[in-house]
């Protein structure tokens, strides 16, 4: 379910009142249920199993760091007693069975035909038989295993179709129920490092296997001259986002910054909170977790502000981004027909397309969360006003940058290897080099990962990683030289024109880097750069721009949309929240703005048949 789809808005319209009508201590259950439904609505509902495994692994490993809690709890208090608790051991299985029976009845699946039930009954009988054959300390494992078996069975038997989605959802619910029961029982204990290693391996392993398998197998084949076929596994939606949230939680628990969550359901809600599954942001447990689980009253301002934000996001995505995409796709689809200034136009428009697409999605997500009374971290802060590439990345995809800084850069700089390297450089090349080189190398690790995060291909590693690393390192290394030059040329560096020049310079550098993101390969990028050196400035004056897939009216709308975007960004940069600014105006003005925006989205939006409004560039990350 995409956040721009009709289904999402129906879902949202239903879920919001349900959320506020629910008793406050049950509100988080409602959110968890919505997240489950949201996940099951994806084109590949079976991917929820991957997510469930990742969440359970994270929860389990994080629990191992919570040593005090585990130590203090006596086995009796924690649930299954030795040799007893037959019902407890069977509870997950019975729960699964009851759920299935209920669902079969509700869905009226093949009346009178119990063949669908047979495997479930057999599995329960097997559990019963096994129970008497195995030692009591294995009972929790048996219960857990039964839930997993049930889930896999659901996966294979009923994955496609609505019925399959419902069963799959029930399976995942049963698995979490089983996990919750087992958590009170005698689970195996791991030491901190082993638990961390297990958590990281499972999360990163699944990310690598599902998202980077093609890249890994392809490179392996190339290096070792093999021909292993790359598996075609469907990655769950937003796998990079929720995996990074899970890793942040796991590492936070490991370092003692965060207390481990005892309830696997709450862990699941934190990692799989439905709005973030589309395009993030990457959450930190300490900032968002408690807010997610605490109930809240209906807040008029939060809901109206949230809805306004969603509307603005829809405007960016459906009115601006969707139109810019047409022009960009036309030019990049045939760079031989569209050389010269067309290329640079496409590069510039792609910057705006990417921004309006990603930030539009983010506005919808943050707006929807705000309606539930949850303030998620911001991912953008008017990036086009940045004066350096480094600043740009502090304003663009902020949560990813912050994650990389906290969980990659700082840990890397703190490693023994880096410390030894710093010492060695200081001894051989001096203090200044010792200050800079290890830092640059640490940044290299970050940017390589940044590139890899964007996708399993070298073009991402070069374009989204090395390119920006080189820009930042060069700008830092040459900073003294630039300062001398500006002083020599008597350039006023504290005026609008200089700031504009700096922003345009950053825009150009980022646009060049983003060509790697948009085009198919590194070779293609170089070919396109070469094609960009044709001289054809007349295209801006002879109506050629209206032959790029958008007619005059649509092109004008896209340009007006960009103008509105820049105006709003400028207001935001100057005054902070534009919504606050508007809310202070008189009612007729406010309503005119809101209704105008709504009508612009409804009438001018590129959605419905023939458009792919549901697709977001960052959605499959």
């Amino acid at each position: 379910m995409s956040v721009t789809s009709f289904a999402f808005f129906v879902f949202f319209a239903v879920s919001l009142p349900v959320y506020y009508l629910a008793p406050r201590r049950f509100q988080w259950y409602a959110l968890l249920l919505f997240s489950l439904v949201f996940f099951l609505s994806s084109p590949e509902p079976r991917t929820i199993v991957y997510a469930a495994v990742s969440i359970l692994a994270t929860w389990y490993c994080a629990r191992q760091f919570d040593g005090e809690a585990v130590k203090s709890a006596a086995p009796e208090r924690r649930g299954v007693k030795a040799g007893g608790g037959f019902a407890r051991a069977l509870l997950p299985g019975a729960f699964s069975l009851a759920l299935q029976a209920l669902l079969l009845w509700i869905l009226n699946a093949a009346p009178g035909d119990l063949s669908g039930m047979r495997p479930v009954v057999i599995s329960l009988a097997a559990v019963l038989a096994l129970y008497f054959l195995i030692p009591s300390r294995w009972h929790w494992r048996l219960a857990f295993l039964h839930s997993v078996v049930f889930l896999v069975f659901c996966l294979l038997r009923w994955a496609p179709g609505l019925k399959g989605r419902v069963f799959l959802g029930a399976g995942v619910a049963a698995l979490f129920f089983a996990a919750a029961r087992c958590s009170r029982g005698r689970g195996p204990r791991l030491n901190k490092k082993a638990a961390l290693a297990l958590g990281l391996t499972i999360n990163l392993g699944m990310l690598a296997a599902l998202k980077y398998n093609g890249f890994l197998v392809g490179n392996l084949n190339r290096i070792l001259r093999l021909s292993i076929p790359a598996p075609q596994w469907a990655a769950p939606m937003g796998i990079s986002f929720y995996t990074f949230s899970a890793l942040a939680y796991l590492l936070g628990c490991y370092w003692g910054d965060t207390e481990a969550q005892k309830n696997p359901g709450k862990t699941a809600l934190f990692i799989g909170f439905f709005p973030i599954l589309t395009s993030g942001p990457i959450l930190r447990y300490g900032e968002t977790g408690p807010a997610l689980f605490g109930g809240r009253r209906f807040d008029y301002k939060a809901v109206t502000f949230g809805l306004q934000r969603m509307l603005w996001g829809l405007f960016l995505k459906l009115v601006v981004s969707a139109r810019l995409a047409v022009v960009v796709n036309t030019i990049y689809g045939d760079t031989e027909t569209y050389p010269g200034f067309y290329i640079w136009l496409a590069a510039a428009l792609f910057m705006f397309q990417l921004y309006t697409d990603f930030s539009g999605c983010m506005e919808i997500i943050l707006g929807a969360s705000e309606c539930y009374g949850l303030r998620l971290p911001e991912n953008f802060r008017t990036p086009f006003f940045s004066r350096s590439v480094q600043e740009f990345w502090q304003r663009w995809h902020i949560t990813l940058g912050g994650w990389m800084r906290d969980f990659v850069l700082y840990p890397v700089l703190r490693t023994g290897l880096w410390k030894r390297m710093t010492k060695w450089i200081r001894a051989h090349w001096g203090k200044r080099a010792a200050k800079q080189i290890p830092n640059y190398l640490g940044m290299l690790c970050v940017w390589l990962l940044m590139g890899l995060w964007h996708g399993g291909a070298w073009k991402y590693i070069v374009g989204q990683g090395l390119w920006f690393w080189a820009c930042i390192v060069l700008s830092r290394a040459l900073e003294p030289l630039f300062k001398k030059m500006t002083a020599l040329l008597r350039v006023n560096t504290d005026c609008f024109s200089w700031h504009l020049f700096q922003s345009l310079r950053v825009f150009a550098l980022v646009a060049l880097g983003n060509m790697f993101f948009r085009l198919d390969s590194i070779c293609m990028v170089f070919r396109t750069w070469r094609a960009g050196f044709s001289y054809n400035p007349w295209i801006f004056f002879d109506d050629s721009l209206y032959l790029l897939g958008l007619d005059r009216k649509n092109f004008t709308v896209s340009m007006l949309g960009l103008a509105v975007l820049l105006l709003i960004s400028a207001l935001q940069e100057k005054h902070g929240s534009v919504r606050e600014l508007i809310s202070r105006q008189n009612l007729p003005f406010r309503w005119t703005v809101y209704i105008g925006l709504l009508l612009a989205v409804v009438v001018l939006g590129q959605y419905g048949p023939g458009y792919d409004a549901a697709a977001f560039i960052y959605e499959r990350f």
């Binding site: 009709f6 209704i595 709504l598 009438v603 959605y607 419905g608 048949p609």
Partner: protein
């Protein structure tokens, strides 16, 4: 904490905002979702009519709105009728149109049989035409369920939100999306002003019955089921057509007559109707001229067979003025848009109009017997026929010749006429053939109206409204006689 008063303010504000937004969205939807034709006005006309002032509802698709002219029916027989039809109306919309028609409680439902042989899927725009225009009711929702049955989940959204599909029409909006289209006259769609000859199979009423498709039959059965509960009578009709679907229509005829419904195949009566060349537009549509004949014939038949009352002289019939006004507008539009010379001359043959003709260059080569006959019917005696490159000028009023002058073949002389029209308006005509001044002039009340094109330059003057209503030049040098205005 928010106090109770603030809560009320919030609630009222939210509701007002929702109301304003909803109204604006409804307006946007009504403007944007009418992509296919002018059905918005057809349906508006239908809903506008008072319940007890509709005697007949004619249901179908374009075959209905192109063939049945309510204004002509009222003018000729005093029959108060309404159309309920849309372009390419899906076959499965018919039962629901019938149910909608029943809301006016008419004495008779006339149902276009041809529509039952139409598509039940694959034409979303046609579904939209019906759904957008039907008023919100249980019937509309049922119609949506039925018509959208074979469409994708996304397309089914149209049931609630046509705007979802048609919002992208914003860049095609024109005056016709906001105002009544000029060619709509109480639902009658006057778009076919030129037509073809009588189709080959037009009289093939007798054919071996063959069953239509299963879904079409299912739909027909549903329709017949709905017919049972109606108070009015049902007449299934076949307008004059090319007979291409005769075998299926015979099957339907047998079926409906077995059910006790009436059936009328107008193709069997094309001589009685007076159908001729130029009255047909393709296989299942009539031109405006054919529609006029068919409407007159059918309305007389309905009056005879069903005793539908003549409402023309009925006191208290509120719709009368509207019918008359629309008829006047229809006539004016028909004349000002006529493209077939003989039909045009037929249209202006009325005591209401004066016809002024001046020839330029050459006007005889393309004139055929039909045209000459129509000119003679208007009162002209000589006509330019058979006099090559002659100068010719003539004026008549209501079939009475005012004056007429013609020169010899290829004469170098021009002719001129001047006089007074019946309402006292002065006029003057000048005509110069190819070898004369090669010029045509028609002045009415001192103002020049002639197109000054080759052939017959015709100016039509309305004696009642005291104004020129059309000026056209038919190039009768050419056999196809193209018209310039």
């Amino acid at each position: 904490m928010v106090n109770a008063k603030t809560k009320w303010i919030y609630a009222v504000r939210c509701m007002s905002f929702a109301l304003v937004t909803a109204l604006l969205l409804l307006y946007a939807s009504s403007v944007l979702s009418n992509g296919t034709d002018n059905h918005k006005f057809l349906f508006q006309d239908f809903y506008k009519a008072s319940k007890n002032e509709v005697d007949v509802v004619y249901i179908g698709a374009s075959g209905a709105s192109w063939n049945w002219n309510p204004t002509v029916a009222f003018r000729e027989t005093g029959l108060a009728s309404q159309l309920l039809a849309s372009e390419r109306c899906p076959a499965d919309a018919m039962p629901y149109l019938l149910a909608e028609a029943a809301k006016k409680d008419p004495a008779l439902y006339v149902v276009d049989v041809h529509r039952f042989l139409g598509a039940t899927s694959g034409d979303l725009a046609a579904v939209q035409s019906v759904l957008v225009n039907l008023r919100w009711s249980r019937n509309r929702l049922d119609a949506a369920d039925d018509m959208l049955e074979n469409y994708s989940e996304e397309e089914k959204i149209m049931k609630y939100s046509p705007l979802y599909f048609f919002h992208s029409r914003w860049n095609q909006l024109g005056a016709r999306d906001f105002e009544t289209v000029p060619y709509d006259f109480m639902g009658f769609s006057m778009r076919a002003l030129s037509g073809s000859g009588i189709p080959a199979g037009a009289e093939s009423a007798a054919a071996e019955p063959a069953a239509p498709k299963e879904e079409q039959l299912e739909n027909l059965n549903l329709f017949l089921e709905k017919c049972r509960g109606l108070r009015g009578k049902i007449l299934f009709v076949e307008a004059p057509n090319d007979g291409s679907l005769a075998q299926y229509e015979r099957y339907i005829q047998n079926l409906v007559t077995q059910m006790g419904c009436d059936y009328l195949n107008a193709s069997e009566y094309i001589d009685e109707i007076g159908m001729e060349d130029g009255d047909y537009q393709g296989g299942h549509h009539l031109t405006v001229y054919g529609a006029e004949k068919y409407t007159v014939w059918l309305s007389q038949y309905l009056e005879r067979a069903y005793g539908i009352p003549d409402r023309r002289e009925e006191s208290g019939f509120r719709e009368k003025a509207r019918y008359e006004q629309q008829y006047e507008a229809y006539q004016a539009y028909k004349i000002s848009h006529g493209v077939m010379l003989h039909k045009y001359l037929e249209s202006v043959a009325s005591p209401r109009y004066c016809v002024l003709i001046a020839v330029k260059d050459e006007a005889s080569s393309g004139l055929d017997e039909r045209d000459i006959e129509k000119l003679r019917n208007l009162g002209f005696i000589q006509t330019p026929a058979g006099v090559y490159r002659a100068s010719y000028a003539a004026a008549e009023s209501g079939g009475e010749l005012i004056d007429e002058k013609i020169t010899a073949e290829e004469s170098g002389e021009s002719v001129a006429i001047s006089g007074i029209l019946p309402d006292g308006t002065p006029f003057s005509l000048e005509s110069g053939g190819y070898k004369a001044s090669n010029h045509a002039s028609v002045c009415v009340d001192g103002k020049e109206y002639s197109v000054n094109g080759r052939g017959l330059n015709i100016v039509v003057y309305d004696n009642l409204d005291h104004k020129v209503i059309d000026s056209a030049a038919f190039d009768t040098f050419l056999s196809n006689k193209p018209v310039t205005r």
